[in-house]
Symmetry: C2
């Protein structure tokens, strides 16, 4: 691309470093900003700078937070005996949206992935084990994506927790609510039959 302006070129190059945004999309976004009042761009820049400068990770669950102990960990009405292990803040938000979980979270910050160079030492697994060793946690629920990386991470943590007096469980895999059986893949359908539950529990 031949830009008529260095300023424009710099802005497009920076924006196109974001994941999933190519040069053309970046140019479209930047030209959009140029058509808006400059204050909108200043607000955007300020909010991004404030975020990376001032964001904290909760000292207990490692979730993204404005304060040292996040709202969920600081809430005395939450059950601190159950810990749900998730990958990142998006999973916390998704589970919170269901209103079905009243325990605490532990945010790993990723999944074990040798291809991407992420090992157990890059995640917050040690902190989870320490927490469980204190003896107050009764159950650890694994809620990672059902991928090879997710299963590997689950298994790694499970092996470490095995020797400790704590129950481990994993979220149910099965046919999504509203899905047609005929379009489900065999692995999911197979698992949903093996792990069937008493009908009364589904009411």
């Amino acid at each position: 691309m031949n830009f008529s302006s260095k300023l424009l070129e710099n802005a497009v190059n920076e924006v196109s470093q974001l994941p999933g945004i190519g040069k053309r999309t970046a140019l479209r976004l930047v030209l959009h900003l140029l058509k808006q009042p400059a204050s909108q761009t200043h607000q955007l820049s300020a909010s991004l700078n404030n975020l990376v400068n001032d964001i904290k990770l909760c000292k207990k669950c490692h979730n993204i937070s404005d304060v040292e102990i996040c709202e969920i960990c600081a809430n005395p009405s939450r059950n601190s005996e159950i810990i749900c292990v998730v990958e990142d803040v998006r999973d916390v938000m998704a589970i919170e949206n269901t209103s079905q979980f009243k325990g605490l979270y532990h945010v790993l910050g990723g999944k074990i992935s040798p291809i991407e160079g992420i090992g157990p030492q890059n995640l917050t697994i040690d902190s989870l084990i320490e927490k469980v060793k204190e003896g107050l946690v009764k159950e650890v629920i694994f809620a990672l994506s059902s991928t090879i990386e997710g299963d590997t991470t689950n298994f790694y943590i499970y092996k470490q927790l095995e020797k400790l007096a704590v129950k481990t469980s994993t979220i149910a895999r099965g046919i999504a609510v509203g899905d047609e059986l005929e379009y489900a893949d065999e692995v999911t359908l197979g698992r949903s039959i093996v792990n069937r539950i008493p009908f009364e529990n589904s009411l």
Copy 2:
């Protein structure tokens, strides 16, 4: 969405104001920035702020530029007797990429669109007419998108130029190079037959 952090929420809200970026995509982009060194976000913000603070429009062609007269208008080897009328900087970049045009540009800054509240007075049409009235321009080429808004804008400018001693032309509409005839729409195919050119000219 329930955010665990006000800073995160603000950043996501600002990013999701960009066209084509919803809340989920904004969250993904913002979380990506959080995983990168803070300097990357600072550079991104600085380049956007610099752009909106310091960008200029070329005084002659109204294209985006770092200086008062853009590189193309300042280039003495370009033919100032031919002016190509385009919508915005992207069209200038696209035409420059072809290396087929050695004249100057005139950037309208949009198309006449009553639905979006854009009238002729919001565009740089007056400045184009003034330029032509000076008498040095021999030909004006319309290179706007082939849409209702583009055709309306072409016609509006054509009507003003009609009384002046200047040739007007429009870029050719037809079957794109590499396209299969059977998939072309009728209007394009019809026009390509009506506006056929001597075979020698296509070699």
